[in-house]
């Protein structure tokens, strides 16, 4: 008899432990939204994003989250308030939800009975985002560095792969990884100090350009591929940094000189333009080609009348454009100004044209060009069809928004933001609709919702890519040593 009871108890235990949780019946309806981290309430996501795992911050009791879209329902019990949605069930739900909303109900047991928070939607866009994101992970230190690396993350899962880690390159500095139209097979990046130089990864091969090209061009810095893949525009900057004593912006990074040059990948030649892009009177930086390759956008500031670093607050960059003829390798003789710093009062940087050619997103801050250290930096969108610009209202925050990159379909923008804590840069994604309006952004989801709390590295230069970079790190080092 005892055995039978034990047996049935055991079976019951197995059934209870194996069965999926059910949706609780709430005895209390709470009026407020649940306080969750990351804040995924009412965000817009693509259908190819990894599970938006979040944590109910106030959770001290049993919790449950119910996600619904049509007939699909995903019920997840919380573990210490964390809802770790399984990838397969999340994918099933998203497959149903493209172009619709997912309703999220969060339940919490309070005084022995279930209470439910106000339901919130997660909007799922019809358009997917590019499948990978490349970024550099680096401590937000001031001067020296130690560990850093360039990584890529599969956005539909939590898998992260290393592109290159400086553990194998004598802990040197590596930066400015840039792709040609989100193509993972065409990448350019720089390394400094050991193995210093510019590296071009194209057609499965790595080629090194020497860092110092000539006396006039001490270094190649911010790159942009010409859509043909035959040219890369670089700024050549003489960059310095100083430090603030007052609270707020900690570091001031500024250029003493900067010019723009174009490297011809076929002829292995540097093409310098006339005085507009290469002059002592002005500093030109952040080149960006239009999708048709006929226009080069860049930022320009007057340099002749400034005493740097004393006048650092007076350095303001305008947003300009100039025509480019790829066949003759020549630039136009006149530049157009899209954003006139002297008139508008602020400083523009990082122009990035959407692949459909309709919009240009840029960063505006009160002065200077290194906006990641400027708390006032925000993203703006320029409608190239109308010639007007507006702030990306929904994407911006009280803190820094700086670098950004478009997805190939022009509907998604990834950008770096310091809104979490004012120091560590995190990648956010925002949906940009056809009218150029941004929607509430979401933080790159991680397997553990607490990930960002413990993570002591910044996500630097987030760049969308349409597939996985297959660069062989050893091949790059072999090329570097040659």
């Amino acid at each position: 008899m005892k055995l039978k009871i034990l047996h049935s108890l055991l079976i019951e235990l197995i059934i209870v432990s194996c069965s999926a949780p059910s949706e609780p019946i709430a005895s209390t309806q709470l009026d407020e939204l649940p306080s969750i981290y990351p804040d995924y309430t009412e965000v817009t996501v693509p259908a190819n994003i990894a599970p938006l795992r979040f944590k109910l911050q106030s959770a001290s009791n049993e919790t449950r989250a119910v996600l619904t879209c049509g007939n699909e329902k995903l019920i997840q019990s919380g573990e210490d308030g964390k809802f770790l949605f399984p990838e397969n069930k999340w994918k099933d739900l998203l497959a149903q939800a493209a172009g619709k909303d997912i309703g999220v109900r969060v339940y919490e047991k309070k005084n022995g009975s279930w209470a439910v928070y106000r339901e919130f939607p997660i909007h799922v866009a019809r358009e997917e985002m590019d499948s990978y994101l490349a970024y550099r992970l680096i401590a937000p230190g001031y001067e020296p560095w130690f560990e850093m690396g360039i990584y890529q993350r599969e956005l539909s899962s939590f898998k992260e792969y290393t592109i290159l880690q400086n553990g194998i390159t004598d802990h040197n500095c590596m930066n400015c990884h840039t792709f040609n139209r989100q193509n993972p097979e065409e990448m350019v990046m720089h390394m400094r100090k050991t193995y210093g130089g510019t590296y071009i990864y194209k057609d499965g091969k790595v080629e090194k350009l020497n860092g110092k090209v000539s006396n006039d061009i001490p270094s190649l810095v911010y790159p942009c591929w010409h859509p043909s893949g035959d040219f890369i525009a670089f700024s050549s900057n003489q960059t310095l940094q100083n430090f603030h004593m007052r609270p707020g912006n900690r570091i001031e990074v500024y250029d003493k000189e900067s010019n723009i040059v174009v490297f011809d990948l076929k002829k292995k030649q540097i093409v310098t333009a006339d005085s507009i892009l290469f002059s002592k009177e002005a500093m030109q930086t952040f080149p960006n080609f239009s999708p048709d390759g006929k226009t080069l956008y860049f930022c320009s500031a007057r340099a002749d009348s400034l005493d740097l670093p004393a006048d650092y607050e007076k350095v303001k960059y305008s947003l300009c454009s100039i025509s480019f003829n790829a066949e003759t390798r020549t630039f136009g003789t006149k530049a157009d100004t899209l954003y006139q710093a002297e008139k508008e009062g602020r400083s523009a940087k990082f122009p990035r044209v959407s692949p459909d050619g309709n919009f240009l997103v840029f960063t505006l801050s009160d002065y200077g060009n290194f906006s990641i250290w400027h708390h006032d930096a925000d993203l703006y969108i320029y409608d190239l069809r109308k010639g007007t610009f507006l702030p990306l209202q929904a994407a911006n925050s009280e803190d820094t928004e700086s670098f950004h990159s478009w997805s190939h379909n022009s509907r998604w923008l990834v950008f770096s933001s310091r809104r979490e804590d004012g120091l560590y840069t995190r990648p956010y994604f925002t949906y940009i609709d056809t009218a150029g309006i941004s929607h509430k952004p979401f933080l790159l989801p991680q397997s553990d919702p607490d990930f960002y709390q413990d993570f002591m590295r910044s996500f630097n230069v987030p760049e969308f890519i349409q597939g996985k970079v297959q660069l062989n790190a050893k091949e790059l080092i072999t090329e570097a040593k040659r």
Partner: protein, 511 residues
């Protein structure tokens, strides 16, 4: 027991500061994420265990006890191997000399305890192999042991495979060739790991370099235990073929000679790899970390052979005691550079400069130096993470201060200190009224002018908060040590009112 007690006494006497110092070089978090982060790659488990052990080094006697334990375990592990190979003689020289050498290596700040753990694991697996009679099971144990060593401690796997093959060759001659795959397995695993590009450089995957700070190329000396181990096994096997000494007295003399020889070698290694200069620096750093200012001032070499760096520690100690201007000239001085050295980027200098600037009220530079100090290892240098909490609270960056508080709350010995700062989050008025943070907040210059470093920053701090005496004392001492009388008189006329009673060295000397 005797050996353990003697080792403990020696370590406590001569290496105590090494262990306190080492504790700041790596961090250990009590969190699942930290566990997952380390455990997920070859060698990570060894790192996890080593860091777990090292977190206790901040406690008195813990470093000594743990190192004595590792030392005795190593001797025991190797002795059991030698006994299996040589049943006739007692060979304390072999185990003692290797274990003593490793003990010395442990005092090298860049040596990682993972190396010692991997030697222990190697001994354990070889012991298991020698004790299994069944050839099939023995080989299985060897192969599994090789793979396990690779996942736990990384490159030591090759040594396990190689020694395992050697033992099969000399002890189990019939099927030794079946063990050929063990070192090959280790190389294969290392190659696979190397090909992924996720690991460290090749030397850290294939060589014992993995047991040394990866950004440094170690000297040959860290390879010695790994060369000595297989050679000692061969020697033990060869000696096992020799007949035993007939007389007990000869046996005793042989044994005594071995012990003496081993200790002599250990002592030589200690003298070579434990340089006095480094020991002094560690001692100064530990006193600074423990805020034992009297301890710094009482160190004899501060007066005997002063350097700019020593003068910096000495003057910081005086300043912390509020006696910098009072007793400046009672101590040897190295000019104004002895008040604040130039940063060479090393962790020591960055920590020291962070402390000096924090005391002066130069919050921006104190924070910058703290950042520079923590860059070498994630979660390491906890005292500088505490500094980041302080400086961010002072500058009003509460969110990032909270991040560092949360981080330190995952450590065993710094969580209380970190939690104590929680009460300031979102309460700037509490920061202002706090005796430590408040006056420093008032030192923050509100102009937009950039820092020019050094003297001019101190002037700006003095203008912002002339009542902050440590800064004024440093400022006056700069003039004094630069022998700039005019500037000093100007300084006194401007700030003398805030320095009453005037400290001894600031009182004008009568001709």
């Amino acid at each position: 027991m005797v050996l353990g007690a003697a080792t403990s006494l020696f370590l406590q006497q001569y290496c105590m500061y090494d262990y306190f110092y080492t504790e700041q070089q790596q961090g250990f978090l009590w969190s699942a994420a930290y566990f997952r982060e380390l455990i997920g790659h070859p060698g990570g488990t060894g790192t996890y265990i080593a860091r777990f052990l090292r977190q206790f080094y901040c406690l008195p006697y813990a470093g000594t006890t743990i190192n004595t334990g590792l030392f005795l375990l190593l001797i025991w592990g190797m002795e059991s191997l030698y006994k299996k190979l040589d049943r006739v003689h007692f060979l304390p020289f072999l185990s003692l000399s290797i274990a003593l050498y490793v003990l010395v290596l442990e005092t090298d700040v860049y040596y990682l305890t993972e190396g010692t753990l991997s030697l222990l694991l190697t001994c354990l697996i070889l012991n298991i192999q020698l004790r299994i009679k069944n050839p099939g099971r023995r080989l299985t144990a060897l192969y599994l042991g090789t793979a396990l060593t690779f996942f736990i401690t990384g490159p030591a796997a090759f040594m396990v495979g190689l020694c395992g093959l050697g033992l099969e060759l000399i002890c189990q001659k019939s099927c030794w060739w079946k063990a050929l795959g063990a070192p090959l397995l280790a190389i294969l695993l290392q190659l696979i790991w190397h090909s992924t590009g996720n690991g460290e450089s090749a030397r850290c995957i294939f060589l014992p370099d993995a047991y040394y700070e990866s950004y440094l190329t170690p000297d040959f000396h860290i390879y010695l235990p790994w060369i000595a181990l297989p050679l000692s096994l061969l020697l033990a096997y060869a000696l096992g073929k020799c007949p035993a000494f007939r007389h007990t007295a000869v046996n005793v003399i042989f044994c005594a000679l071995q012990v003496t020889g081993a200790f002599w070698l250990g002592l030589q290694a200690f003298l070579v790899y434990h340089p006095a200069e480094m020991t002094r620096l560690k001692c100064l750093e530990v006193h600074r970390m423990q805020q034992d200012w009297n301890g710094i001032l009482s160190l004899p070499y501060m007066r005997v052979c002063p350097t700019t760096l020593y003068a910096c520690y000495q003057n910081l100690a005086l300043a912390q005691k509020g006696e910098l201007a009072e007793k400046l000239l009672d101590y040897p001085q190295m000019g104004s550079a002895g008040l604040s050295v130039l940063s060479d980027g090393s962790q020591n200098t960055c920590c020291l400069l962070s402390d000096i600037n924090y005391l002066q009220g130069n919050i921006g530079t104190a924070q910058r130096m703290a950042f520079n100090a923590i860059r070498f290892q994630k979660y390491a240098c906890t005292q500088m993470i505490l500094r980041l909490i302080q400086t961010n609270l002072i500058s009003g960056a509460d969110k990032v201060a909270e991040k560092y508080i949360t981080l330190l709350e995952k450590t065993l010995y710094y969580r209380e200190q970190a939690s104590a700062y929680r009460k300031f989050l979102g309460h700037p008025e509490r920061v202002l009224s706090d005796p430590e943070l408040g006056p420093r907040k008032k030192c923050m210059d509100t102009s937009t002018e950039l820092s020019r470093e050094g003297y001019s920053d101190l002037v700006r701090i003095a203008e912002a908060n002339p009542q902050w005496r440590p800064n004024l004392e440093y400022l006056g001492c700069i003039h004094l040590l630069n022998q700039n009388q005019d500037e000093f008189q100007n300084f006194l006329s401007q700030y003398g009112q805030y320095l009453k009673p005037l400290p001894k060295s600031f009182i004008p000397q009568q001709p």
